[in-house]
Symmetry: C2
């Protein structure tokens, strides 16, 4: 809770990093110490602490905003190695789970605890415009709250999400000549016009 | 081309990194020096070199396999800051473009050049099982080929992809109580059962 007492309490560490060190990591990777990314760091560590030591885990994030970068900074799960996946529910939550059994822990914003941190609540619920928010106080509250902001629940990942799919054969596209995933059809999706260009 | 001459040719640098340094970065971030990630590093640098100095750019990757991690290691574009997006065409290609004008460069595997690097071709077209491939030679060919493996073309990103969408208001979900993106409907998508748990 943010009280007079909080001012003598120190920012919580993010796993093995001090809060300041973690902020610096976020600036180097993400471009800035975004509030969602700092909160995400504590979420990752809260979930990881519950997994048995040495568990090979993977991650579901429930939003693509900021959270994936907390995972990528603190674990070996990355977008490009397929160990982070997005299950978009619109909630600010993530789950770390055993790659083989699917058993793991989901960490989420606890609405009751959120009320105890007014600047975090203002930011998350967009109660004020960004310009009107007190960003120094927001970052201070995030560090003081640490993992206390969250609830945690045991989850099991459905079996169909545990199977790894292969991309299948790769062949030259008769349209553009580039190698493509042949399961997509006789020509690549690029030649079908499915590009942003 | 891989010839006797190649053996005295050195691996190409990946931007400001030596090939060995870049391999080390990939191990720390991605868990291993995956061939697609090493190739991706050269792709990023080939596209970036064509953008005017100081351009604020964003990225489309045409596959989620490996390529996003090359982008994340070499630029400030990350999954969590929204500056990498996926336009899945099944091709191993990416485009770096000016965030405001959409003008940029797409780098792709040139099928004619691919034929000159037999181990890369074997890997990309899955001509042999992973066990049968010569992974040392594959990594050597990737370093020797460097940016020569690719074609490059000018692209313009369609205007509808340049507009940033806001997630809109955030409100407590009447089902679970967690804050969620209220545009999704009266309850969150988690409460609608759209989760992997």
């Amino acid at each position: 809770m943010y009280t007079a007492e909080s001012t003598v309490r120190a920012a919580q560490p993010v796993g093995n990093h001090s809060y300041e060190e973690f902020k610096e990591l976020t600036r180097e990777f993400h471009g800035c110490a975004a509030p969602g990314l700092l909160i995400g760091g504590y979420m990752v560590e809260k979930a990881r602490a519950r997994l048995p030591e040495g568990t090979l885990f993977e991650v579901f994030v429930e939003t693509a905003k900021c959270l994936p970068d907390a995972v990528q900074l603190l674990t070996l799960c990355t977008y490009g190695n397929g160990r982070i996946r997005l299950a978009e529910t619109g909630r600010f939550a993530l789950a770390l789970y055993d790659k083989y059994t699917g058993q793991g822990w989901r960490v989420f914003i606890d609405p009751l605890k959120l009320r105890q941190w007014p600047e975090i609540e203002t930011w998350l619920l967009k109660k004020k415009s960004k310009q009107e928010q007190d960003s120094d106080r927001l970052l201070e509250e995030i560090g003081l709250a640490g993992e206390e902001l969250f609830g945690i629940q045991s989850v099991g990942i459905s079996e169909r999400f545990l199977e790894k799919s292969s991309s299948g054969p790769i062949a030259p596209c008769p349209g553009c000549g580039e190698p493509y995933t042949a399961v997509d059809g006789p020509i690549c999706r690029g030649c079908l016009g499915q590009t942003p260009y």
